[in-house]
């Protein structure tokens, strides 16, 4: 029952269930062998731009973009799958 023990940890780290499950999914994808792995990782591209509105005016939008392969490798080295996308 490893998952039971893990629940309070990721929740107390400020993660939602969605983030947690995404990290897990990404770990599983990384376990694939190569032709499938590259395909699976290329499929899951994250890109959208978010703008918060205050008093009827949009604030500066922030964009989430997929990582280039080099950045991705760096990010993986930096943290073991914790930060799986960058916020620019």
């Amino acid at each position: 029952m490893a998952s039971n023990a893990a629940v309070p940890f990721w929740r107390s780290a400020g993660m939602t269930y969605i983030t947690y499950s995404n990290i897990c999914a990404n770990l599983v994808r990384n376990c694939l062998k190569d032709p499938f792995k590259a395909e699976a990782l290329a499929r899951e591209k994250v890109h959208f731009s978010v703008a918060k509105w205050v008093d009827g005016k949009p604030q500066k939008p922030s964009t989430k973009q997929p990582l280039t392969p080099i950045e991705e490798q760096k990010a993986r080295k930096r943290s073991l799958g914790n930060k799986w996308y960058t916020q620019k």
Binding site: I18, N22, R43, K45, F48
Partner: protein, 326 residues
Amino acid sequence: MAMITLRRQGGRLASLISPSSVNGAALLRGPSLVSEELDPKGARFVSTQVVRNRMKSVKNIQKITKAMKMVAASKLRAVQQRTENSRGLWQPFTALLGDNPSTDVKKNVIVTISSDKGLCGGINSTSVKMSKALYKLNSGPEKEVKYVVLGEKAKAQFVRDSKKAIEISITELQKYPLNYTQVSVLADDILKNVEYDALRIVFNKFQSVVQFIPTVATVLSPEVVEREAEAGGKLGDLDSYEIEGGETKGEILQNLAEFQFSCTMFNGVLENACSELGARMSAMDSSSRNAGDMLDRLTLTYNRTRQASITTELIEIISGASALTG
């Protein structure tokens, strides 16, 4: 009857074609026997140049709309497959928690899903109208309703009259093919940035290429689910489920609500993308047809004017010749 209307249109076109210098010529020459309408700059007949140019542009527009229709049709097939598969994601949640659109709560968040691009019929307007109706239904004293807007088109419509209620707007969602990771990151962003008791997701459910049903999916916050479960009713059965392991019911419900939201969003975004493509297909189909009709009408007018001028010339030649011999 049709001939009469066409002739009338032809007449209107002829007067449109030669408006230039009609007044000037009349002023210079004063009263003349020659019809002003037929004689703009010393020309003997109505110029058909304008009609020809118009025909050319209509033809080009028709080509563009036809191409757009083909593009939408080919994209639709792939998206439709994914959409139909994604329905399996929310169905278990509805089986477990039910769909409770009528739950009365304080903090409402309406998530309106629309497209970034236009030329797709009325699907964006329908989801905006639906959202505004929901806003009215749920607003009241001590109640708060906020919009989270996905897509350029709905944003443009909300900015007009309900700017203040917009909380977050999200665009550029469809740069890459839609996937679950992307939508779940998005759902996570929304959850972190708004306070909610109920999230109401408005989108166009894809039924067939010509039919889209504006749909509301409701995701309740864990507290509200618990409250409703205690009050009995539709959610009353929730207590009969056994919880495994050491988690409390609150934790489970929290996880469920979050996961339910991201799954419902995923399906909603896909359904809406699919409806968008379907709507664009039918819109472009009808506009190509309209362009074809217009082209037919213009061709008829063009030929009629051309023939009229030829006939006049022939009559003039023949009558001139007969005047000489006679």
